[in-house]
């Protein structure tokens, strides 16, 4: 019995100083202060609670957009002895969320050195497509093919390879998010909660700072650029996705095969999306490099940057491919572009991409919870 007690004590001792323990400690301070309630959804959600269990903290961490406002406004931030830094501890916990809910579970380890993981996935993918191209065509520099990609890789080859990886990634993400959803006891989704959460996600409401001036980057000044660059990235990505979807419909429903004319819908959507995917990631990378070192978790910068750079390279290689699709370089450019895209598909469930998914889930829980009556009865001060 005594032994058991001492074991429990040891476990508690070990637990002290973990991100969960730190988040609990800091949130007790925040909950007695509450000055930051107007910035975002995290603090109003916090005030509905007086205890911060790992599951609560997990939810709040993913609700946090790492805007930095609460750190610069914090009277208890370092050099104060309380050393409150919510953006950092929340970032640390988010990383643990991604690792914990990765599927298959052992693949969560890919988050630990994510910059390396993504780089290897992308390198292998490019190598694969270059070799495959050379193997199928005898050379990487065939004569002009008038932009006909399928002369290099047949449509079915591409559809099967990308379809299989994409479906696997979607399944992996879905399993992770369902487990996360259960662990945060999110409750029943109502239509109005779903509408609100969708709105908050699509408008990136919580990168607005509550006052609409934006979030912090280098210092205590507010800026909307992080929000705008995210929009460029996200909507650019969605336009590219739309381009691919339209092309798929053209192919299967109408029998209109690629290459498509520059004035065609898939090319227009893809080009616009590609431009968004150049501006957005370039801007985000710039902001990331300028970012105040107290924000977030420095150990995750390689993950952030790998993802940003990968998106940029997908777009850049795609636009180059469009520009030179009639030239002898097409085969090599195609292989490189496909390599980047494949690298992205492979690492979707094991990279920064996940942040958007968990964020949406947390926003949805927040919208559900807001519509429920708080069980606390704080009325008077």
């Amino acid at each position: 019995m005594q032994e058991l007690k001492s074991l429990i004590k040891d476990a508690k001792g070990l637990a002290a100083g973990t991100p969960e323990a730190e988040a609990d400690r800091m949130l007790q301070i925040c909950n007695a202060c509450r000055y930051c309630e107007g910035f975002c959804a995290v603090f109003p959600a916090m005030t509905r609670r007086i205890e911060f269990t790992p599951s609560v903290v997990n939810y709040l961490a993913n609700l946090c957009h790492n805007c930095g406002a609460c750190l610069h406004a914090c009277q208890y931030a370092t050099p104060h002895e309380f050393a409150v830094n919510i953006p950092r501890v929340m970032a640390q916990i988010r990383k643990e969320t991604y690792i914990t809910y990765a599927w298959p579970q052992s693949f969560g380890a890919l988050y630990k050195s994510n910059g390396v993981s993504v780089s290897i996935a992308v390198s292998l993918s490019i190598t694969f497509f270059l070799l495959l191209s050379a193997l199928l065509n005898g050379s990487l520099f065939s004569g002009p093919l008038n932009g006909n990609f399928y002369a290099i890789f047949s449509h079915n080859t591409l559809a099967v390879m990308f379809g299989a990886v994409f479906i696997f990634s979607l399944i992996a993400i879905a399993i992770g998010i369902i487990q996360f959803w259960k662990s945060i006891s999110a409750g029943v989704i109502s239509a109005s909660a779903a509408v609100e959460a969708t709105h908050d996600a699509l408008t990136l409401k919580y990168l607005g700072g509550g006052h609409g001036d934006g979030c912090n980057n280098e210092d205590d000044a507010f800026s909307l650029w992080r929000k705008y660059f995210h929009h460029f990235t996200f909507y650019g990505f969605m336009l590219c996705f739309a381009a691919t979807s339209v092309a798929t419909i053209y192919h299967y429903a109408f029998g209109w095969y690629a290459p498509y004319a520059l004035s065609s819908l898939p090319v227009i959507l893809g080009t616009l999306g590609g431009i968004g995917l150049l501006i957005g990631p370039a801007g985000l990378l710039y902001l990331n490099l300028q970012r105040n070192s107290a924000h977030g978790d420095a150990s995750q910068k390689p993950m952030d940057r790998a993802f940003i750079v990968l998106l940029f390279l997908i777009s850049a290689s795609g636009l180059l491919l469009l520009a030179y699709r009639d030239s002898a370089a097409m085969a090599a450019l195609l292989a490189i572009h496909l390599g980047f895209v494949m690298g992205f598909f492979l690492t979707m469930p094991y990279g920064k991409f996940a942040h958007g998914i968990y964020r949406v889930a947390a926003l949805l829980k927040n919208s559900i919870e807001k519509r429920q009556k708080s069980h606390l009865q704080l009325g008077a001060d």
Binding site: G38, F39, Q75, G210, L376, A380
Partner: protein, 473 residues
Amino acid sequence: MVDVLVIGGGNAALCAALMAREAGASVLLLEAAPKDWRGGNSSHTRNIRAMHDEPQDVMLEAYSEEEYWQDVLKVTSGITDEFLARLVIRSSSQCRDWMRHYGVRFQAPLSGTLNLSRTNAFFMGGGKALVNAYYRSAEKLGVQVRYESPVSSVEIEDGKFIAAYVGDERIEAKTCVLAAGGFESNREWLKEAWGVNQYGESPADNFLIRGTKYNNGVLLKQLISLGADSVSDPTQAHMVAVDARAPLYDGGICTRIDAVSFGVMVNKNAQRFSDEGEDFWPKRYAFWGRLVAKEPGQIAYSIIDSKVLGRFMPPVFPGEKADTLDELATKLGLDSKALQETIHSYNAACQVGTFDHTILDDCHTQGIEPAKTHWALPIDTGPFYGYTVRPGVTFTYLGLKTDETAAVRFNSTPSSNLFVAGEMMAGNVLGKGYAAGIGMTIGTVFGRIAGTQAARASQSSKSQGVEAKNARA
């Protein structure tokens, strides 16, 4: 030579610097603290008490000049200057657009502060966000800011400011605004002011300082010794009962104990000593520090039972928890028998009506001294909780006497170029007591007046006026 030298780096100083610069004066602001600790006590504030005749953005309903004045009159027991108080009140209805212009943002009242939603506008992110916004705006506007520049003395000649000293450096200026805070961080001075009590103790030894450690009252002391007229007395201060485990400085808001009106407060002899339910907590919390300061050992214990958990802002440190009063007394280091007797006689005196902590309800005690006039529920449902509290000084009220021009006065004659704002003159309005958010109101209103007056004074003599114009061109 700069036109306006602002000594201090909190809300009042920044308001003065911005107004002076707006008026075209060149401005140098000297902040004693390093950048990380800039802003003085303003960094710990959260709202401003503002008059308004109709609903205004985050402020609900109306808060008239008369009602505001009655509140000031009540909390100060009449120890105030009606003319200056009304000036502050009326001006408070005018300053929020100006604050917004310089980057201050307001938010809806914080959860758990419903009682303040009509009278106080909350700063989004609190006072440090306000301070950050003002510094950004001041630098953008061309105010020179120097950190780690505590002024050790000022040179005054016939009531006129000549220069200030930062270490050995002598800084001349045409005019000066003093906004360097009270003397709450000066423990020696507090000790001297509070003296020795009837128990042979030096009460100030047990005070915690809720705010900055940089408010040492150096210039306040010097000015008074140079013959500047003063107001209030050195024992008057904004004092809150804070958790005894709070840090010595900068504990800020989170160390206060909001459980008081939900239970009883006993001293180290386990005896009650004041009415815990006299009024809403926001109106009373600034009194309890002083009440505790007058008890033996300057220590007290807020005791509640499980019925009221979740009804008040959660304290930052967990309280002592026990299943019985006997066990709680042991954990708190109180005499168990005495505590149980106190609680039992309190419980027996409770006349329970309809408990409602959002109104002045009808639950009260009968036949005990002191009475608890509202929210009196028996303490009978374990587990029981106890919080040990100490007096926490927010800021001192001893200040320089001033008038509607914010001028420092020597023998009732206003100085032509020396002005004062913020804690250094809040005692003109607050002789004692406090109403939440009024410190920021006084600081903002008088900071703005002082900045305007200092800029005007710096440009008043003809030659100086030309010089200032040339400097601007």
